[in-house]
Amino acid sequence: MDGGNSFLGSRSKGDDLMKNTAWPLFWLSWSRAVDGSFEVLLIAATAIVTYAPWALSEALDPTSWAMSRVQAACIFAWVAAPTLAIGKAATIGSVEREGGLGSFFSGMGVPCRTRFLWAALPSLIISAVFLVGAALVYESSFGWTVGRTLLSLQFIAAGVVVQLAIILLAMGAGAAFSASGGTVMTLLVWFYGLYGVQLLGLMQAGANSWALGSVWVFSPQLWLGDLTRRMVFDWGGMPWSQFAGIFSYLVLWGAIASLGGYALYRKGTGAFYR
């Protein structure tokens, strides 16, 4: 290898590997993220989506069966899988700080932002699998059409943007605080953005309060990205102009959340330099 060193095979293989030192970090994070719970969730989702219609009355027509399947798949894509991914990302962030992996890879010259993104990638893959799965369930339940494919793509695009940001936030929070602290903090943001904000909107409309209105305006409107209702009721794709507005808002929010997560990650791992 070098100077007569024969420790790890041929020089060319070593050179290939070292073109990207972040790959090992990805695999280490992958094995933490996919440690059995992901597989269990996938099996549970398959079983529940398959047998969801059984929970309905036999008197209902087959369209209701399709709706129940799609709803079950979307709940996994927007509630169960993100909850798991957030927990995994916070754990990985925490391990980067406490487990020494951050220092180890930083010492080898892997920059902080590279470590941050590569370590978060496995958790995003978990989320993306369920988003794509829900889209496939939708198309197979109602039948393929251009409009449905369009909605599927919008569903996946909005979901990936929002969930990537929340996963990066969880990574940072895990690194800055702890695995459990980061998980709880990020889950609060997640569920507030999905459901709490809508509740606040109703309260604000009823009370006509300036203070509540201000809080609502600056709250993360993550529910905008959840197109479950459109899929369950088979409304087809959202008009592009409308989707572009929502998507732009989600990208902006995602950028802010990701930068927040990165700042927390840098603080947590002590990466003030690299």
Partner: protein, 218 residues
């Protein structure tokens, strides 16, 4: 020399050269700045002034390095290296059970895994400097002597690590590898002293070099 908000500042004047294939022993009291020094020269922490760490490639093994607890030795090497055979063989030769999950290994065997991974990355990166922070911690006597012999170049062990890299070994006690110099980090100050035969404590190492330890603490 460097700092982070949670670690002490360590001062040293002048550049230190690390000859190819050599060993530098790093001793010092708890909180004296050993880890800060290692992290600074590896570029993990910023140097306060006088340079940006090492001029070359480095690999740093922190005192704590935890791999995924469910990964077995063989799986871990496959996850880390494209050609894992030699690294896996090294684990086997050091007596690490390859089919036991990392989290279920004994403390000493986990440390062997960390050392092999660090040395393997050092070889792959063709590192100029490999820094081990307390590598002997938890190892049995035979392994300590084996590693000391290999690192010091006095023994052709079953494992061939990089012969190019200079190593800095931070340690508290025991028989050190053959080394060119000793760095003593005490109270945030760094001093270079000649080689020592046995590393019993930083204080003895300092006294044997004719330096009054109080001078360093003050």
């Amino acid at each position: 020399m460097g700092r982070s908000p949670a670690t002490p500042v360590i001062e040293s004047s002048g550049a230190i050269d690390f000859p190819e294939g050599g060993v530098t022993l790093l001793v010092g009291n708890n909180g004296g700045g050993k880890s800060t020094f290692l992290q600074t020269i590896c570029g993990i922490l910023p140097a306060l002034e006088g340079g940006d760490g090492i001029d070359g490639a480095a690999v740093y093994l922190p005192e704590e390095l935890n791999f995924p607890p469910t990964l077995k030795g063989r799986q871990l090497m496959s996850a880390l290296f494209r050609s894992p055979d030699s690294a896996t063989e090294a684990l086997l030769l050091l007596g690490v059970p390859l089919d036991t999950a990392f989290g279920k290994l004994s403390k000493g065997n986990r440390q062997k895994v960390r050392i092999v991974v660090t040395e393997a990355f050092g070889a792959l990166k063709r590192a100029d400097l490999i820094c081990h922070d307390e590598p002997m911690s938890g190892l049995d006597l035979i392994t300590r002597k084996l590693l000391a012999g290999i690192w010091g170049g006095t023994r052709e062990g079953p494992i061939v690590f990089s012969k190019r890299a200079h190593r800095i070994i931070a340690m508290h006690a025991g028989v050190p590898p053959r080394h060119q110099r000793v760095l003593v980090a005490v109270g945030g100050k760094l001093r270079v002293i000649p080689p020592i035969a046995i590393c019993d404590s930083w204080m003895e190492a300092t006294v044997s070099s004719g330096v009054d330890p109080k001078e360093m603490i003050s």
